[in-house]
Amino acid sequence: MMTHQPGPFARISAGVVALYLLLPISIIIPVSMTDQRFLSLPKEALSLQHYATVLTSPEWLASIWQSFLIAIAATAIAVIAGTLCAIGCWRLSRRSTDLIRALMLLPIIIPSIVYAIGLYRYFAGLDLLDRFMGVALAHGVTGIPYVVITVSTALAAFDPRLEQAARGMGASLMQTLRWVILPRITPGILSGGIFAFIHSWDELVIVLFIASRDVFTLPRRIWDGINENLDPAMAAVAVLLVVFTTGLLLLDLMLRRRRAE
């Protein structure tokens, strides 16, 4: 017996914690398939009627579509700005760039509520309240840290001599970026993009403050749903969201595994 194994107490308690993490999320699956008109477990049969309700409701579909477009735009902003910034900081690598990297991490350190009330006031002056651009910009900026972190991690494994080699052979900065650096860190960029996308797709606090009627994202509709009418359609939406997020995560895991090879 070479490896140290956890004892029975550790095994059982870890199992309980895992159940605590996963069970509440899984319980919404049977609830979403209830044959009843209220939030409960199925009584007599499984039914997909609540999925049908959601997927035929123009309001839900509009919100899903809108959230999707915002997330795409926000991801584009976060990926472009975050990747370039991470590369610049990595290459220059000095005290001032450490400060810039710390600045880029602020959105995950400072609570969204503080940013949300700030934007509420700031966007009013710029006429960006309740605008697609406004929400995309806010989500994009707050998505930058996810990209900076994943790309910095990818760059940490990048041999800096490859950059030197390219420059030494006459490649310009743009050529080095395009042909040498970016191809090597693509998995890191994709990971960052996935996280930035999920961030925007799930974001609610900022939206509560800077959007009202014209921009009504999916989380905003779920929020209203939970506060107003707790019906099984909410469970169906929740399941769809879980499936979607898990899919993105599995995609990310696959990318990481390929990178590890």
Binding site: D159, Q164, W179
Partner: protein, 364 residues
Amino acid sequence: MSGATGHALAIERLSKRYGSFTAVADVSLAVGQGEFLTLLGPSGSGKTTILMCIAGFVAPSEGAIRLDGRDITALPPERRDFGMVFQGYALFPHMTVAENVAFPLRVRKLGAAEREAKVRAALDLVQLSAFGDRLPRQLSGGQQQRVALARALVFEPALLLLDEPLSALDKKLRAELQDELKALHRRIGRTFVNVTHDQEEALSLSDRVAILNHGKLIQQGAPAELYERPATRFVADFLGKSNFLHGTVREVFAGGFAIGAGSTRVVTAAADSPPLGSQVLLSLRPEKMALLAEGETAENSVTGIIESWSYLGAGYALNVAVPDFGTLRITLSTWNAPIAPREGLALRLGWSAAASVPVLDDAP
């Protein structure tokens, strides 16, 4: 595009400081057209920093770098047109061998046909024509090294810089590639600047070697000149092995002088002699001493006792305790060796006046 002959490089009073640490201190060097220069030194001697200054990756604190008389000190690396073989090769892992070699041509926007022809010629040059489609990780260390060479030469650079090009290889392969590298240099006639900490490599490859220590240039010259006439204790010790004899100058005569240490007198040849009574240090190579037979004489001789010895295949190395000089190391060919070494054996060592060289004692 540069011609077939190489270019001349001049390094003038180059210094590089990092805060209070001086990596390179006031080094001047000239590399002639088509010359193979090696910067040799232990780690931390500043040799790599000098190479990085030549390549343009490190900006000198002071001094200038000139190519054929033109000041290139401020030129960014991508505009210098120097080929470089990096330590560990720095091959692009996501590109095939051919794509790696084509890279410098691609950044120069050469047409596809011309690019292909040049890549083929470069791969031929290093005998890797059959490996163009492989990825670097599918090649052996020696093959990767040759790809790095082809990539550095394909755009006919003004200068080829080599940063420890053979250090990642095992000993046998290293010897093989040394010969290849030397032949390549003869064939293409370009100017090469090589950096290494391996003295054998420096001696066998270079037209000229510059020895560095603690950021300073200690001595430069042809390999044989450096080995035979080291200027300082550091050079004598770093290039091959050497015994050091401490003594006081007792007599001075035309073409040499004699030192005394205790009751032993040693004569040495020298162009100019130090003043009488001064302390000097002589370097004496282990292979330049011989065992003296009964009644045989030499300009210098001492008797001693074998302290320890080892068998090295081609030769024996004996550590012989002698009066006044401590332990001397001597090497003998094993073939037809006059004695069978054993510990405690008494013997007599002899050497000529020309065998030893006075050196400056720069030991810390």
